[in-house]
Symmetry: C2
Subunit: 340 residues, 2 copies
């Protein structure tokens, strides 16, 4: 009997991180009686006087938001990173090791409208978010103590988001965090060996096979990676090899906004609910080096598995062993593609 | 100003995995308005006729449980791994890579009593669980296609556990999963350089500093690792350096059961609720090699942060960057120790 990736348990290699995921296709039909998630109420007002992100309202720190009409960015009133952190390190026998971490945490409101999410917004308005991401990436990246800028969004209460006003965050810091450090290493190794970017060659395979592609436009592709961990995980990859938002043409920025719109619209159709996820951009570190191997991409990690209320739990085996999934990336891509 | 680990944002190095965690001590007092978890109803009958794990009841596959009076183990009716999986692999341009994974998934009932959890059980009865873990580790490890045995427990609906009957699982497989593979590498490197086990030397520091110890008996220590990720994460470490359950003396097995009991009793006091967690044993692979560097230990990853209903979310930044925590491991250990 030959190995059939649609039938038999197997592990897949994540070429971007060098790690593995266990795939158990036969298990997708297992009954479920566990925790049910709350479904978020769908009707929100366009303006909520109690929301600390709406235009003109007061925030926890006492400051007042301007009457903004597009996007709005401010320093997180409870940032996990601070600019004022003294540099220093701690070490004992090589076993206890700590280093101070300077940084900046920001919040970005995508829209003044309290009742929208990215898929509800016009492409032209998402483009304004892309512009602001670029601006922040550049401005933060210029600071001498910022070597990496993580732009992300937690969407939905299930993803720890405590305010439904459409917003994302930026955590910018001195060191390169663990996940991008893995990707940097994998991409560098590949680039040195092949003189092309890893995602360039990967994308060529995907565009030929077409099995895992969800949406595509002239400059971007959204696909379910061969090594996806979350049930409906996707990645937006640029067709051209460049490393960060500053290197995108105007046309590419429009196409990127269009790709985000089309992908998130599909997501909302999967279970007929505003689809929760954490998403974020992986782009070149701002440590003053070139990083020619880096290929711009954005990850979407949505937790829902079976319905609007049943998510995938990354628990015991996943925490102690490695991630595990039931439906295959190919099945997930079929499902998403059928909703385009 | 000097770096103060109790005050300033910093990253800590995990000596067991080689990865880092971001610690933001100043952020512990942030207000919270997000998702509230359901608290599990506490009263359960000693026997539940609808529970597929209770003695004498029928399981989903149609099989009947024996009228067991201590522990009970059976093959998972919906295992993520299967013994019958054909061997084989798949590869395309080095970028798409998959390998078949043979394995066995089992379920272990800790007690016939539907209404108990580990902290409610007598030490002598937990000892029976330890004996069964040892037996399964040995029997599964003997199979030529099993090179690693992961024993774990998901406790609480918040941890994806769909049945409150006290039980754990075993996933045994051909390859060494990602997390133990990291620990193997780190432990081997340390052992080659120092000729002592990494956890041996780490434990010596902890026993001297006493800052992160929660409970201790003659043979085991439960502590909050210096590099803990989850708010109240702990690790049980054997005082003597050995690699797996088969190498424990009778006395050590009793002491291990005692340590589990004392630690989980403390956990239940933190928020006055049956404390959810995923826990699991990391011991030597069963691949026929010696692994003299490996030092037996067990991880506890509990998600609760602030109350019985507010957990830590490992989402956007954590998924895309690296794990982040607010309260320091030292504060968490103080809190736990005060409840002993
Ligand atoms: O097999 P169970 O208990 O139904 O499933 C639970 O534990 C497994 C192993 O950690 C996870 O893969 C599942 O997501 C979780 O719901
Ligand atoms: O800053 P927020 O949105 O309140 O917090 C949320 O996102 C952060 C970054 O992913 C996480 O550390 C928190 O656990 C989560 O609740």
């Amino acid at each position: 009997m030959a190995l059939d990736l649609a039938e038999h348990p197997h592990r897949r290699y994540n070429a971007l991180t060098g790690e593995w995921v266990l795939v158990s296709p036969h298990r997708a039909k297992r009954p479920w009686q566990g925790q049910q998630e709350e479904v978020e109420k769908e009707t929100r007002p366009a303006y909520d006087p109690t929301c600390y992100l709406c235009p003109g309202n007061e925030r926890a720190g006492g400051e007042k938001n301007p009457p903004y009409s597009q996007t709005f960015v401010f320093n997180n009133d409870f940032g996990a990173l601070q600019e004022s952190t003294p540099t220093g390190s701690f070490e004992k026998s090589g076993l206890l090791k700590a280093e101070s971490e300077r940084g900046v945490c920001k919040v970005i409101c995508f829209s003044p409208r309290h009742d929208l999410t990215l898929p509800d917004m016009e492409v032209a308005d998402i483009r304004k978010v892309v512009d602001l991401w670029q601006h922040e990436y550049e401005e933060l990246g210029k600071l001498d103590f910022i070597n990496y800028v993580q732009i992300f969004e937690n969407k939905g209460i299930i993803m720890g988001c405590s305010n439904p006003h459409p917003h994302g965050q930026i955590w910018a810091q001195s060191s390169i965090p663990v996940e991008p450090a893995k990707e940097l290493m994998q991409q560098q190794n590949y680039f040195e060996a092949n003189n092309r970017s890893l995602l360039n060659d990967y994308l060529a395979i995907e565009l030929e096979e077409k099995k895992r592609i969800v949406v595509e436009n002239e400059h971007f592709v959204a696909l379910v990676p061969f090594w996806a961990v979350w049930p409906f995980e996707t990645m937006i990859v640029s067709k051209r090899h460049f490393g960060n938002l500053s290197q995108m043409s105007e046309e590419e920025k429009d196409a990127y906004a269009d790709c985000i719109k089309r992908l998130t619209v599909v997501y909302d159709k999967v279970f007929n609910v505003s689809f929760p996820y954490s998403a974020g951009i992986h782009q070149t570190p701002t440590d003053g080096q070139e990083h020619p191997a880096w290929h711009f991409h954005m990850h979407f990690y949505p937790p829902l598995l079976r319905s609007a209320t049943v998510k995938k739990f990354m628990v015991g085996y996943e925490m102690l062993g490695n991630p595990q999934r039931d439906i295959t990336p190919e099945t997930a891509a079929d499902r998403l593609r059928s909703l385009v």
